[in-house]
Amino acid sequence: MSAPGALSLSRTVLRALVVANVIYGLGILALLVASLVAEGPLFTALGVKQGEGMDRMIRGMRFIAVAGLAAVPIAHVILARLLAIVDTVRAGDPFVVPNAARLQTIAWCVLGLEGLHLLIGAVAATSASSVQPLDIDWSFSVTPWIAVLLLFVLARVFDHGARMRADLEGTV
């Protein structure tokens, strides 16, 4: 695939992901609202059993929904910054200091998302019991944390490179 083609595809994919993220957020919000206005039918449909541990499970599931909702604006920031970076590549001048700042923002956001992921795992673990199992397919992975580290390092390298290039501008 040619570079302009890849860029155009990236923009399309990112724009689609921005929309998908909003739809995902609305879905989670609807679920959260339903858990408040139609608690009984919703949690029964989700497989929560009556009896011991039910309240804890409901609280846990609501918290997970809130955490999922909190991830929406964070994901939006990541996608928006990425889109802005792609736009600077299209404009022909990506090695600028604002892109380093965008990369650093993305790093903080990914860190935030990983924090939420850990929180969700902890809540799921404390909410579930042998009577009330909760399967959210949660697992810990080192890879995203390495990605966070990589993003912070790359942002710093990018910032240094962009400043060096700016310094070289006007050199004859």
């Binding site: 070289l168 501008e169 006007g170 050199t171 004859v172």
Partner: protein
């Protein structure tokens, strides 16, 4: 910027055009024009060497410092 580039004077003294100098030193006309109009922020030693070689001058003939042109921002 308190550094003055006297390329124009040197070219005039040697009856040489910027285009001719550009061909001699193998530096683009655009870059030499930036240098001549005082818009350059830095000069490479290789550029200085090529220009001095082509014009038969010293770096001091090409550049001068005028303290009256130092801006408050540059003074810090």
């Amino acid at each position: 910027m308190a550094i003055i580039v006297k390329l124009d004077d040197l070219l005039h003294a040697r009856r040489m055009t910027l285009t001719e100098l550009s061909e001699k030193v193998d530096i683009t006309l655009a870059n030499l024009s930036i240098l001549k109009t005082g818009k350059a922020r830095a000069v490479r030693f290789s550029t200085l060497e090529a220009i001095c070689d082509a014009l038969g001058c010293q770096p001091g003939d090409l550049l001068a410092f005028d303290p009256t042109l130092v801006t408050p921002a540059e003074k810090g």
